[in-house]
Symmetry: C3
Subunit: 337 residues, 3 copies
Amino acid sequence: MSDDSQVDAQPHCCASWRHGEPTDTDISIQHNQPASSKRESANDLTDVRARISEAVRTVKATTPLAQSFTNFVTINLVANAQLAAGGTAAMSFLPDDVIDTASIAGADYINVGTLLPFYKDALPQIARAFHKAAHPWVLDPVAAGIGATRTEILRSFRAAPPTIVRGNASEIIALATMWGLRDDTVQSTDSTDSTNCATTRPAGVESVDDVDSATVAARQLARFLATSTPHKQAAVAVSGEIDLVTDGERTYRLPGGSAMMTKITGAGCSLGGVTATYLAVSKPLIAALSASLLFNRAGEIAEQQSNGTGTFQPHFLDALWNLTPEQVADSPIIVTQ
Amino acid sequence: MSDDSQVDAQPHCCASWRHGEPTDTDISIQHNQPASSKRESANDLTDVRARISEAVRTVKATTPLAQSFTNFVTINLVANAQLAAGGTAAMSFLPDDVIDTASIAGADYINVGTLLPFYKDALPQIARAFHKAAHPWVLDPVAAGIGATRTEILRSFRAAPPTIVRGNASEIIALATMWGLRDDTVQSTDSTDSTNCATTRPAGVESVDDVDSATVAARQLARFLATSTPHKQAAVAVSGEIDLVTDGERTYRLPGGSAMMTKITGAGCSLGGVTATYLAVSKPLIAALSASLLFNRAGEIAEQQSNGTGTFQPHFLDALWNLTPEQVADSPIIVTQ
Amino acid sequence: MSDDSQVDAQPHCCASWRHGEPTDTDISIQHNQPASSKRESANDLTDVRARISEAVRTVKATTPLAQSFTNFVTINLVANAQLAAGGTAAMSFLPDDVIDTASIAGADYINVGTLLPFYKDALPQIARAFHKAAHPWVLDPVAAGIGATRTEILRSFRAAPPTIVRGNASEIIALATMWGLRDDTVQSTDSTDSTNCATTRPAGVESVDDVDSATVAARQLARFLATSTPHKQAAVAVSGEIDLVTDGERTYRLPGGSAMMTKITGAGCSLGGVTATYLAVSKPLIAALSASLLFNRAGEIAEQQSNGTGTFQPHFLDALWNLTPEQVADSPIIVTQ
């Protein structure tokens, strides 16, 4: 599952993070910008943290329903993570069921991990219904670039796009490429990019690209979503060594987390599900930031409390359940240009 | 999943329960009835407790097989809960597979949580085969009232009904309504009832009605099942603040449990599965009571041992595994008129 | 699931194992053979242990991808077990997805536990593609003998056979029988065998035969696979009281494990998945031995650390994660003729 998307270099990131540098890193990097933008980004970040705290608090207070159409491998963890974050969960696969339930859900989550034959028609139909109803939803383009059916389904979403896309670097690059958003903007920093999905296909469901290489694709994708979605607001979250979240204009990097999150299946899928839970009560950018920060903090706590990958998962869910809005909002956030 | 059915006011229930009142509550309420029925219900309850103890003991001693056709979200927990209670599990979806396996299973469990297109024909076919073979089965009408396909499937079960129905208040009311059992019996205590499923549809998969409001529907449903099922015996279990179990004649309320059971996905689904495990060795009423009491006691133990929703589940399964027949049978049971 | 395959008499085995006899048992039985073969088997075993150690070490060092087409009950545990052993996981069901991903996977795992209608065509198509590409794969013939569709699918694999078959005694006997490998070789030790699957059908998904009774069938099956698979090497693993692994020529028995492995769902399924992980880096016989030994050691550790079936699973995964190549390779192995 795309949970493996966070393998990458997270160990390094986590190592430095655990070595007590986060606050320094946060502060230093937070101000390591052109003087002209210092105050602006500082004010911006203060406002962002306030809205993240409000989102986390609101979910715990109002238990919003987020519906998921997700893969069979991690569907249980997605539901339990949404419940642990304070929301409620409903999982469905039949279009009539999904569309009927969406009317009482604050947001939806679609994950294309384990496909069945009928999804080829069902998913495009569901995406069109969401688009027509201006219903917010999160897409996890698991293994984008692998399989003709998956590619056909992902291509179809271009006409009825999600509000948020969460994936690993390779998936974000592959999706932006198959949607034709990359042609005239390939940059040197985007070394792995190509119009040939084959070169950016994930190694199975693991990213073969690092987050930096997906920065341009993530911004292009976010800007496309922002202009194409009913609410004209969107976000893209890239999981990896240092998670990236952007709305197309502002880009944030989120250090921390745990390499153990890459050794259980479902960290990425459940992050997508919880992102939908926050999207039910907040704007796309805040929802993506809140979920990623919550997961990174929970991963660090679970790694300290567990003795392996088996005990990591229950401790991870306990941490999702116990973390406070302040603990999430006060996380290190790196503002980039 | 319908596991969320127990959210309701369980916290209050559990709070008072945990405040050491259960025994008092049990005794006082147990005798808080018209004088004329005191001895009768006391004798009845003594016999019921003896049969519950026997059911729990027999499952641990004979590891009966109960087959499940259940949703993808909690299918693993359903199987593990059945194994923890002492039974064995087999999960199947193909009619030929289900019907073939049913011949060596003591009972079956059908949960309509996550539907796939072929279920529309498969589930009615399976129900008819069970009816023809007088094979006992438990139905969990998850999210009854949501989705045209689910409604069509649930309506079809009226002609080949289950032995036991376990659901939340809204699901029980919705099923009794779509089976046309409510028309001439709407009562003031049943304020939320309506022939329009829309008004009793669960909020996603959570109940929007309390258990009391489903009392009449539960009894009507149980009486219908008792007259329609091959063995002429049936039961209905309603999960909520204070669980309700009835065979249509006698109605029991079961205080206790844990609000944490509503914060993991699958408490309700696995309760349905374990009810089928007990149905393989006992009568419907005893099977429904045994499973509900086992789950409430396990929930209380797990809540004390866990630090959140993640560690709650393994401790909950440990409790299902470790609870004795006496601990289950000696649980507080409220006999109502 | 076939995880229940290990119920059988494991308790007895584990009892003696936990009573400190393993080393003695190992040594004594290891040499309890015709004088002529003593040195040979001792040398053979020394080489086998070296290759097991190398396989376990290589997986941890190279995180090979093994793809699974497996049942919905234990799919999450299969993925987490593969990750805990050090590999990476990808689960797929659509032929185009499976065949595309197989090109970047070291081996595949197919488990026929919970069938859907389209598997009837998809699984034979996938097996043919694997055969044509000489792609190694592991088959878990869950509940072989139950259901017309399952039987049709399993029969079809005869023309495009797996590299390794892992199952319980009844499943191995049923598969060898439906492939017509038993006709002229029925032996007295194989008392339960019959050309009528009905008599060897698993009780649901549990074995109704013991491992000894499947010895002949396992060897016949392994020899057939070795002559029919592209690489001309194969293995068969039978889970039970004392696991059996054979390549058709040499047969090994692996004492130990934990009866608790039969009280959670997925021990057998995840063993099949991890066998595929090792098959991605080693020969069939070594892959089957490595996975079975790793699981038996992990089961013993988890049983000591857990307080029931709920806490057993996380401790079991922790043990898979923490066991060293030496701990696995130094396990007791009984060489039989």
